[in-house]
Structures are given as structure tokens and as C-alpha cells.
Assembly symmetry: C2
Homo-oligomer: 364 residues x 2
């Protein structure tokens, strides 16, 4: 499969795609005589540290889990870079999921005012979202991704080999972002996703197409509005205003994809309640979420997380807020996202509360 | 006095110059309906918090001193921005010296992936150096400015009113950077600086000219090489390889300007020893340093700081290092800076050791 590139402001991210592209990334670094090292997490390193593509370079590790996407982890990594006497010409290669890509990118963006940065995402979620588009960040105790930068990777290897061994729960999480891309882009992607069965993804060509199409949605939007100043890029936050608030409220026990799936459902319901969305999209979305093993109701085990006051304080810290007013991305239909600034708190609360009850049975 | 601007890559920093320009900066923010707040330190806030230009907005304060230009201070400020529900449209205005400008700029660059940022430098040092050119940073325990970004201020007010009440020791510190700019630019600036007596600066026009000329040197260099990729911008590090190492070795008891002055002297001696510098520049430099109350010998009270092993470990972490080799900016003469990669450690040590003995009497 050929390579694409994403233009983000004045910078270009080369996308290496398909089977074995992690090795092509490394060959590219080696051909330039580039010194490099890996930042990863413990879980990913157990599987991939001895893989030949990066067996010869230092691996700096953080514990696995969103709670380690923190300033404390970044501080430890900065000190390890000091200890390794890393200079401005040493590249950082993130090897891992979204958490690793975000954290390693932030560390690379800030150490010595910026090291060369590449990403080898190992999860579907990171491939279609975190690794492309230039957003890097760490969380604060107060909320997700509050500290970060726009720092596009020079190259990203979208290597479908990693998907061969991807746990089911990781497929679910990634599919939430793919479904989001389907809702943002509309047809033909949306209806293709509706037609897709789980077993279809056993075929490598289908997996590669899924990756390609999902990334293409992000590429088109990011190139128009690289720094989220004009509006289009904010549409990628569909489902994420609720999603981030739910994720934070659960102290990250709810996975990102699960939270985004619930966020999409809340957004569809709120769009309907506000009269923006004329068609009955909910059963189609529920069917998709269910097919990919995503929750359509707030999980009972984390019940104490679902207090309205807790959700409100998370919403108050959303990066899209303007003049203290909440900002939601809502839908007029697949392919038609609309920004709504300052909805009535009651409307937001209704959508949130609706997630406490079972969803209407999905029907694709 | 008219305004200039500095073009840094795709971004423009407007420079508001002369008496009262801090108020023009605020009027500019107000005319755009911009929400804003101040980040400053305790010492500066004692003098300026009740000044009408910023009496109405929140002031977030850190303790004074380079040792607080840290990730810990940045973390506290990020949390305070959370608590104030600051959004992406709220500007951060740094009011203070170099430490405040660097720290506030880093916090602004990273909070919510970047808030609008302006600077009101209150020291000569910050006016001619830290506030212009887009470098923002915090220190790590391992070294100075190791974590940061290129994040140019949208506007900088170079308000000479602040210089009216500037302590003598702050004048000295700032003049070290001005002398550096004279050495980098050469004539006519260099000989003009040699002709300048301390009492000349009692005249406002002379102060304004000094500011203007010193910033002009930086502007010309930064516009050619905004992100220090080509080489010219690195010349602004003249005296800073030694300077940063001395400053760090003394645990910041040596002031930045004092360290830079000593670093310039060491660079001149090393340039001479390596045969780069043909003329006997040392007495002229010593005369200038002495005139502005800057040390020309390592201060005795911090004697334990001046161990060679300690200096070496600081040099090992210099941001300009390439492939583990030290990089120094040296001189062929005023206006002729040369980059030297990988000098013999003995040559570096000789220049360092020379700072233990009194300098030859200066003669302008």
C-alpha cells in the first residue's frame, strides 16, 4: 500500500501504511543516520521489545494505564533523556496505544524545545486517532489532555501487524473512534460501517481499508484546520465532550473508547431533543455500538462516578469552552456536525441521565 | 517611538516600545475584548500589582528566583488556571524578569495546547533577551531550560518606565546580554557600548536607544533562523555554554548576567588559545564588564561550585551538543562568531580554570 502524508500547518507527517510498515519507518531513520530511542509502556514492551524492528535501541518505559499520562511520568522521562545524554538530533519513537503516543509526543515536543518525533501506534484507537493529527498531551488531576501542544510526528507507521494480536476489548475501543469518524464523514463510510460484520475484519484487506478510510476522515479535517482555530477540527470532538467527562468521572476505569461510544449516544439524543436531528439515528448507532461490544448504558460497577455534580465540574474544564459556556458538537445527521455553544444545563443533564437506562434495542 | 515587529516562522511578535507601552499593550487587549490575566512573581508584584495597567485582572504569583522556574511551579500555575476556568481565549500576560517570562510563556504554550501570550518584561535582561524571540522554558534539576518550546509572544511591551526603578544589580545583569549583543553584532554597536558611561543611561533617550539597538540584534538573527536550525540563532548563545554551566553549578547563586559575563570572558580566552581570535580583545571586554559591575573572576563565596567535574556534567547536558560532543560559540572578532564542535576538553578546562585568577586590568 502506498504512503500518504498529512499536512499540518507548515509540517508534514508521512504515513507509512500496511503490513510491516514499522520496519520501513526504522529503515527510513537508519538511512538518515538518525539516532533514536523508544518510549513505550510496560504492557506493550512485553509483546514488542524483542521484535527486531526496535530491539537494538533504548526503551524508556512508563506503567500502562491512562492514569500514568501525567506530568509525573513526563518528568521521569525527561530525566531519563538527560541521563542518556540525548541531544536535539535524537528521535523519540512512540510505540504503544493512545496514552503512549500522547505522552511520548509531549515529552518529545518539550525536551530541549523539541526532538524529532515518530509514532508506531499499536492499537486501533491510536492508529485512527491519537497518532495522527499532531495533538500531544498529558492529563492534569483536574482533567484530560489539559497540558499539551500541537506537535505533529514526522512519520507514523500504521502497521496492521499489530492488529493481528489486538485484544477484543481494544478492538471495541478503537471502533468507537471509527464509528465517530463515520458519523462525522457520513456516507459512504457510515453505511459501509453499518454493513461491516466483526468477522469481516479477519480479512487483512478489510482491516487495511478500515484503517485507511478512518484515517482519511481525520486527514481531510486536520489539513483544513490544523490548530483547531476555524471550526472544522473541533468536529473531531463529536462525542468527546461527554466522553472525556465520563472518562475523568470514572477515574479512567471507563476506557476511552467506551466513554466515546456513550458520548456519541448522548450527543445523538441531545441533538434529537434540541430539534437539530430529524431522523431517528439512535437505533442505528446503538446497533453499531452493540456489534462492537461497546456499552450503551453507564456501567453499574462505577455507579458513584455518575453524579451530575462530578460531571459538571469536568464539563467546566473542557478545552472547547468559550467564556465559561459549555460547547457541544451535535448532529443534524451523518456527515452534518454542528457546534452548539451554551446549551441549557437541563438539556445536557437529560442526555446524561438518559445513559442510566438501557438503550432502545438497536436495529441496523 | 514607533512599533517594530519580529517575524518568527509563521508568527509575528509586535514590539511596543518606549515610555508607557505597558498601557498600550493593555489598551490593545481591551480593544479586542480579550480576557486576560497576569503571571508574575512575588517581588515584581510588590512593586507593580497596584499599577493601573493591570490592577483589575487576576495575578497568579510564584516565588521569586530562578530555582522556581520549575515543573513544580508550572504545575501549580496550570492548576490555578483550571480553578479560574480559563479557556483558550484568555491571554496570559507575563509581567516580570526573565524567569517569569520563560515560565509564564511555557505555561501559556502548553495549557489547553496554547493560550494567547504577551510579555511585559520588567528587567533590562528580560527586555533585550528573554521576552523576545519565542523561547520559553523551565529548568530541570539536571540543567537550565531543558524543557520548553518555541512559542513567540503575540506582543511585547518594552516599557522603559520599568528601568527607572531597576536596582543596580539588575542593570549589571542586563548589560551582560547587551555586551553579548555588541560582540555578536560588532561595530557600530560594539564601539558605541565601549563609549557609553553609566551616567549616560540617566538620559531616557540613551536608555531607549540602548534597548532598541540591543533588541535589533536579536530581531535580525531570530528572523533568519527562528527555530535555531540553520546556525545563526545559535550565535545568540555566545558566552552561554559556560554561562549556563556556571549558573547551574552555583545552584543559581550566580546571577544569569554574571554567569554570561564570565562566559563571554572564557569564550574570548578560548578563542584566543585556539588561534581563532587574532586581536587582544580581552582588556576591552574586561573594561566593559568592570564598568557595569560584572565579575571577571569566579566569586570566592561559591568556591565549592567551581569543580571541574561539576562543570563537565553541566556541559554534557547543553542543548547545543551534537552526538555527545560539546559545542561552543567562539569569536574571530567583534561581529564574527564561529561555532566550534568538539573542542579538546583540556582547552575547555583551561578557559574555565582561567576564571579562578584575577583578570588582566581592563582598558577600554
Amino acid at each position: 500500500m502506498v504512503s500518504r502524508s498529512i499536512q499540518i500547518g507548515s509540517q508534514t507527517t508521512v504515513l507509512l501504511e500496511g503490513h510491516g510498515s514499522r520496519r520501513r519507518l526504522v529503515e527510513h531513520l537508519q538511512s538518515q543516520g538518525q539516532r533514536w530511542l523508544v518510549i513505550s509502556d510496560e504492557r506493550v514492551s512485553q509483546h514488542w521489545r524483542s521484535d527486531p524492528f526496535a530491539a537494538e535501541v533504548p526503551w524508556l518505559l512508563v506503567p500502562s494505564g491512562e492514569e500514568f499520562k501525567s506530568i509525573a511520568s513526563a518528568s521521569r522521562l525527561w530525566s531519563e533523556l538527560c541521563a542518556l545524554k540525548v541531544d536535539r538530533h535524537t528521535a523519540v519513537v512512540a510505540v504503544g496505544g493512545g496514552m503512549v503516543c500522547d505522552l511520548a509526543g509531549f515529552v518529545a515536543a518539550t525536551y530541549l524545545r523539541g526532538l524529532p518525533f515518530c509514532a508506531v501506534p499499536t492499537s486501533l484507537l491510536a492508529m485512527v486517532d491519537a497518532s495522527v493529527g499532531g495533538k500531544v498531551a498529558v492529563d492534569l488531576p483536574e482533567g484530560k489532555n489539559l497540558v499539551g501542544q500541537f506537535y505533529p510526528a514526522q512519520a507514523v507507521a500504521l502497521d496492521s501487524d499489530f492488529l493481528d494480536s489486538l485484544p477484543v476489548v481494544e478492538w471495541s475501543s478503537g471502533m468507537a473512534e471509527v464509528i465517530k469518524h463515520g458519523l462525522i464523514a457520513g456516507d459512504p463510510l457510515w453505511t459501509w460501517l453499518e454493513s461491516l460484520e466483526r468477522q469481516d475484519l479477519l480479512q487483512r484487506e478489510v482491516r487495511d481499508r478500515l484503517l485507511h478510510e478512518a484515517v482519511e476522515v481525520k486527514r481531510r479535517i486536520v489539513e483544513v484546520d490544523p490548530f483547531e482555530r476555524l471550526g472544522p477540527r473541533a468536529t473531531l470532538n463529536l462525542g468527546h465532550t461527554f466522553g472525556h467527562a465520563l472518562e475523568w468521572s470514572s477515574a479512567y476505569r471507563l476506557r476511552h473508547g467506551e466513554a466515546v461510544g456513550l458520548g456519541l449516544l448522548a450527543a445523538v439524543r441531545m441533538s434529537r431533543a434540541l430539534g437539530l436531528l430529524q431522523q431517528d439515528l439512535e437505533p442505528r448507532l446503538v446497533a453499531l455500538l452493540e456489534r462492537w461490544g461497546l456499552p450503551t448504558q453507564l456501567p453499574e460497577p462505577f455507579a458513584p462516578s455518575w453524579e451530575w455534580s462530578r460531571l459538571m465540574s469536568a464539563l467546566d474544564r473542557d478545552k472547547k469552552n468559550r467564556g465559561g459556556r459549555w460547547t457541544f458538537l451535535l448532529l443534524r445527521g451523518p456527515g452534518r456536525v454542528e457546534t452548539v455553544v451554551g446549551p441549557e444545563p437541563d438539556q445536557v443533564r437529560s442526555a446524561f441521565d438518559s445513559l442510566r437506562s438501557p438503550a432502545r434495542a438497536g436495529a441496523a
